[in-house]
């Protein structure tokens, strides 16, 4: 689905955020990207849809090379990749419905989007998605009237209505409380499975990463230092990624959580 070949990004300040990352994500796989702040996680997913221009290497979505697309083709490619953001990034003064429908902007013309006249099947799909995340009754509310968890659900709807092949998810739970974080991660996971979507989830929380992904990639200073199963995250591996710390507590807790999850 997504293939990165030696992807590099050097910022104008001279910081080398990505030092040649090779990564291949098959169809329908949900991977968690972990690593300390400044490791290049955000840069990596933004280089995929070119919100940040990579300075070297290649990225392929299916057989399309993303890294050399013209702007109109890039627009089309972006509409195949849904993105979910840390601070939700909803347009606060627009209604929930407009925020969800904005996911269709890559598919509809300017005037129909300007007059908010979206095709009937888009509107229907928007309602269906809002119903799926339990926010049907909020459709006409302004986005800034919603709570954090609700906003992130709307963010998820906006990404899914694009009918994407791939989700790029940047710290989806960083501004949410622990319970809402789990609910959001579970929802993302379920939706990916329902639709057979591949996803890259940037996440700080190692626990959540282990609970809700099939594969974990550890990034450190712009390089991949771990790529494997969630239960392969031993204290040694975590030390390799994040540096020296007492990791036993984190790992033990994970086991407890897994038991709780399976009981529930």
């Amino acid at each position: 689905m997504l293939r990165l070949e030696g992807l590099k990004k050097r910022y104008k300040t001279g910081d080398e955020a990505l030092k040649g990352v090779d990564l291949e994500i098959p169809d329908g796989q949900v991977i968690a990207l972990i690593g300390p702040s400044g490791a290049g996680k955000s840069t990596l997913i933004r280089c995929v849809n070119r919100l940040v221009e990579p300075t070297g290497g290649k990225a392929f979505l299916g057989d399309i090379e993303l890294t050399n697309l013209s702007s109109s083709k890039l627009r089309k490619a972006r509409s195949r990749m849904g993105m979910i953001f840390q601070e939700y990034a909803l347009v606060e003064r627009l209604t929930v419905m407009e925020n969800v429908l904005s996911g269709r902007l890559g598919y509809v013309g300017f005037w129909s989007s300007f007059f908010r006249r979206f095709p009937a099947k888009d509107v229907q799909e928007a309602y269906r998605l809002l119903d799926r995340v339990g926010l049907m009754h909020m459709a006409d509310k302004r986005a800034d009237e919603l709570s954090g968890g609700q906003r992130q659900r709307v963010g998820i709807c906006r990404a899914l209505i694009q009918n994407p092949d791939l989700l790029l998810i940047d710290e989806p739970t960083a501004s949410l409380d622990p319970k809402t974080s789990r609910q959001i991660m579970r929802l993302i996971n379920e939706l990916c499975q329902e639709r057979g979507l591949a996803a890259i989830i940037n996440i700080h929380d190692v626990l959540l990463a282990q609970m809700f992904s099939q594969r974990v990639v550890g990034l450190k200073l712009g390089e991949i230092v771990y790529d494997g199963k969630p239960d392969g995250l031993t204290p040694d591996v975590l030390t390799e990624i994040y540096g020296e710390e007492d990791w036993e507590a984190t790992i033990e807790k994970v086991d407890d959580e897994n038991e709780l999850e399976s009981e529930a």
Binding site: R75, F85, A89, S102, G103, L105, S113, Q162
Partner: protein
């Protein structure tokens, strides 16, 4: 030595704004000396000021009672012309400001577009409306059209600059999110930028209407038509009571606009 035995200072001062004490004190003393010298060279002739007072009194007395009746027709013509001028120049000015403001926002436009639009804004801000009106009167002759041109250009300097600054201060993540959906440029402006800047821009356009109406009085004095021309004629014919009536009407209209803009701004937030 244990931590408990360590002594800590018991007083704390905020670090000064200018770190270097020599620089700090020379700026303070220099400013004081300059002020003293400036006051010393200001040559106030108190006798002339005293003589001016009774003259001023007679002048103000001539305003009363304001005469609304004698030149009513001319007055209303002037006021309607001014209102018309203010509305049209606000609309035209804002219409021109939108593309210029978009181009003058650093986070939207490439460098050369940015510099071009910033210099247009800078140019129109250099000259106050009166100067612009003098140019316009020379170019297009006496009358409200000259005033309209002057006020429209003045509006660009004001509105485009504030629009550009508002766009530069918007939330980048909202803009990024819309871009990530594959939206085109105009869709991006419509969905990500416009909702963020709209409330402030509506408030500012009413505010600018208010400014343009007030400025139309000044612009009229140099030949730009409107209530200013009427006011000027009243002064030249020593009809101070009519002038007083005109001034009262201007004050009334400006106050109405002031309250409207305040109310509108609160409503759209």
């Amino acid at each position: 030595m244990s931590v408990a035995e360590q002594t800590f200072p018991s007083s704390w001062r905020r670090p000064p704004f200018i770190k270097n004490p020599l620089l700090r004190w020379s700026i303070i003393i220099g400013a004081a000396i300059y002020l003293a010298l400036a006051f010393g060279t200001m040559d106030v002739n108190w006798q002339r000021a005293a003589e001016g007072l009774p003259r001023g009194q007679r002048f103000v007395a001539a305003f009363f009672p304001p005469n609304f009746s004698d030149n009513l027709g001319v007055m209303w013509d002037g006021i309607f012309e001014s209102i018309w001028m203010a509305i049209i120049s606000t609309i035209a000015g804002i219409a021109l400001s939108i593309p210029i403001g978009l181009g003058a926002a650093r986070n939207l436009a490439p460098k050369w577009v940015y510099l071009l639009n910033r210099s247009i804004i800078g140019g129109s801000r250099t000259f106050p409306e009166v100067i612009l009106a003098i140019f316009a009167v020379k170019l297009f002759g006496f009358g409200p059209f000259a005033g309209f041109i002057a006020l429209s250009i003045g509006t660009i300097g004001f509105y485009a600059k504030l629009l550009a600054e508002d766009i530069e201060n918007m939330s980048a993540s909202q803009a990024e999110a819309i871009k990530a959906t594959g939206a085109g440029w105009f869709q991006w402006i419509n969905y990500a930028i416009q909702p963020q800047v709209m409330p402030r821009m509506i408030g500012l356009s009413v505010y600018r209407l208010d400014i343009n109406f007030r400025e139309s009085a000044v612009v009229g004095i140099v030949g730009g038509g409107g209530i200013g021309a009427t006011l000027n004629t009243a002064f030249e014919r020593y009809e101070f009571d009519t002038a007083a009536a005109i001034l009262l009407i201007i004050i009334g209209i400006v106050m109405v606009l002031e309250y409207t803009s305040g109310f509108l701004r609160k409503y759209v937030q």
